[in-house]
Symmetry: C2
């Protein structure tokens, strides 16, 4: 029987996990695929961290990419430089590709998809979004008969861990980031996780698959969690809400809004209880209705689980599909580019925390500015006179257009009675 030969690029956390699963579950996988999966070569940097037969291991990526016997290349290097070169070379040599590289796909996806399609090979990237959760195949296959209406998701475990810890302990952002680093849930340089870029990468991939059109990465609005203050987490709780970093994509009339930002959601929202390093996707299909998928968004074995699922699907395709088969990727995601609504036109509800001098007329002045911009207040928390000169006025607005809110905020922050920059957090999932 033909065996399927696999070449692995990168032997870090996920790479080692993939080697482990392919080794430990060799029998089970052969049974499920219909042929043995054979690791032909592995390329890594420095000494191999796990015990390997010497002929398997090389430090030269291109030795693996160019090995004529290899059917499937698995790219687990990360980054957009060497990884891009290696992936394109593999595709151009007719090899199927599995990658967990969200930055590569989000920033160079169109190129990768096109080269894969031109070479008629499969491209699997389940592990690039939400670790162990089989969200891409669920959307692509399980919901194939649906028009997707919306996606609201927690896709970055590090941010979710930090916000969960801030919520549970009342601690400040910096302290909780340090704790996340100590626990191994945040990297030494956590920028991509906490500034929303990583979440935006994943949203680019997930929304392109779900809405079946390429979503330009640059079109995604991104805000991180660095500015979140314990005061806002406390007020959110008073409003029966919690703050999460959400990746949001909504379709209306063929136009998409795609955005990543800290978001106030009601405690009763299905994503509110998703704590720690978990990821979760709330997705609405026109027929299926609302679905929620949750699980571990990162980690050696969870990510490797999704890589192996892609390897198995491609191996199965190699064995049983006709050469004329369509690729794993919905081809229309290559051909059409999604129209994205400018952030200025997005409509949502807002949480505002105005820091005002405790003087008469403040509320009147602030609400006047909001009214002038067509924004109406739904509810308010105003605490009794405090010891400090400045007091917080917390408001939830009804739906308003982003551009109107930005104009209102500029005016509010120039009021003499306003003592600090107004905090503005978007709200999701709250009935009007």
């Amino acid at each position: 029987m033909k065996s399927i030969s696999i070449g692995i690029l990168g032997l870090g956390t996920v790479g080692s996990g993939v080697v482990q699963i392919l080794t430990e579950h060799a029998g089970l996988l052969e049974n499920r695929v219909g042929a043995p999966l054979r690791i032909k070569r592995i390329a890594g940097r420095g000494e191999a961290r796990i015990p390997l037969a010497p002929h398997l291991y090389t430090r030269d990526l291109m030795e693996v990419v160019r090995d004529p016997e290899i059917d499937i290349v698995v790219e687990l290097i990360g980054g957009t430089d060497i990884a891009r070169t290696a992936c394109l070379e593999a595709l151009n040599r007719g090899k199927h590709l599995v990658t967990a590289n969200k930055a590569l796909l989000a920033e160079h996806g169109l190129e990768i998809y096109r080269v894969a399609a031109a070479n008629r090979v499969d491209l699997g990237f389940e592990a690039s979004v939400c670790g162990a959760i089989p969200i891409l195949r669920s959307v692509r296959e399980g919901l194939v008969g649906n028009s997707i209406r919306s996606i609201v998701a927690i896709v970055n475990g590090t941010s979710n861990y930090i916000l969960s810890q801030m919520t549970d302990s009342g601690g400040r952002y910096g302290e909780m980031l340090a704790e996340a680093q100590a626990q191994g849930y945040a990297e030494a340089d956590p920028t991509l996780d906490v500034d929303g870029s990583d979440a935006a990468h994943k949203l680019q991939i997930l929304s392109s698959v779900a809405f079946r059109g390429y979503v330009p990465f640059e079109a995604i609005y991104v805000e991180g969690i660095q500015g979140i203050d314990p005061a806002d987490i406390g007020f959110a709780r008073e409003l029966n809400c919690t703050i999460k970093l959400l990746a949001i994509a909504k379709e209306e009339g063929g136009v998409l809004e795609v955005r990543v930002h800290p978001t106030l959601i009601p405690q009763s929202h299905p994503l509110a209880s998703v704590g720690g390093i978990y990821n979760a996707v709330h997705i609405v299909g026109d027929s299926a209705g609302p679905l929620v998928f949750s699980g571990l968004g990162a980690g050696q074995k969870p990510a490797a689980s999704s890589v192996v699922a892609d390897i198995v699907e491609i191996a199965h395709n190699i064995l049983f599909f006709r050469p004329s088969r369509s690729s794993l990727l919905p081809t229309n995601a290559i051909e059409s580019v999604m129209r994205v609504k400018p952030m200025e036109n997005v409509l949502c509800r807002y949480y505002l925390r105005v820091t005002a001098l405790d003087s008469p007329g403040v509320l009147s002045a602030v609400s006047h500015v909001l009214a002038e911009n067509g924004i109406s207040i739904a509810s308010m928390i105003q605490k009794g006179r405090a010891a400090q000169a400045a007091v917080p006025i917390v408001m939830l607005t009804h739906e308003a257009v982003e551009s109107a809110m930005r104009r209102a905020l500029e005016t509010i922050d120039r009021l003499e009675v306003v003592a600090a920059r107004t905090v503005c957090i978007r709200v999701e999932g709250m009935e009007e």
Copy 2:
């Protein structure tokens, strides 16, 4: 281009939903499949309930099954009699089959699977478990690289609605069942839903796919929710728990425990907040870790969404697979029959409510019986003296073997100080 011809058996709720999706999304589906999906014939009882071209509709099922042009037969009749005959006939005529019929698969699955395999056709049954949730393909494909460790699931929306209403309102079972019937969430004869049979059907199918071996339906232990008393829902709340009808399957050393029964779970459990008619599956893979999938478990469009996903997958297979392809069904599910642990040997924690005369020595007598059977008490609620002669003593035990618990209950209920049958509810997801 070849079109794929579909024959539909049954034009009830789900059947009409499938026709609607195939009609409204014809363009989208053609694009995704790579060929048009054409409804060739539809068979139903009486007059067609939706507007159809007359040549499409017949009251003779076999006209559809025997139509040589039909590629895929979609069985949405339900029941195990006519449906079984029609499905077997379709398979034997080399037609691929999609069915939402959980009773048929749970009770005659082995026969259906074998006939499908013998005829080298595909069999899709995503809609038979958890409505819109793509749980079968997620387990079969997304978690293909995992050994599944456990499944704990809410798979019957009617029972979940009744228990949720009892929890929210404090109402009695009979009242809440009547309300569920008034809302259209329970049928006139709700037996299969409330006695656990429907949940057991779904567990049979889900566990056979997940553990890749045929689970004999008769081996599943089943208890329904008819005996649940508002008192126990109240005590569950005092213990920070809630009561759900759960379908549970756990694997250890190649042996499965499979059971459906009302279950006490902590409020913090991911399934505790799944209310109303929603379904949810908590599944643990050895690599993926814990995953939760939730969504609408029934209803016209949600169920039709999963039927259409199966139609699309099979249509794609017809177009692009080699004739030697493997079937949608993991073939090892046909070949091996799972070993199932007898219920007597199952180990779990228990909630007990003993109704005892309010006299000295009661607690001592009851705890003596438990101790004699090797069962130790983890915590207890004993209310102060009540107006009634009999008072409840509520206990949570540590892990105990079912057979020991049954012996203990028999002895306890024979004690003179015990005034009514002791309520015993199994506990899941609570740390020791």
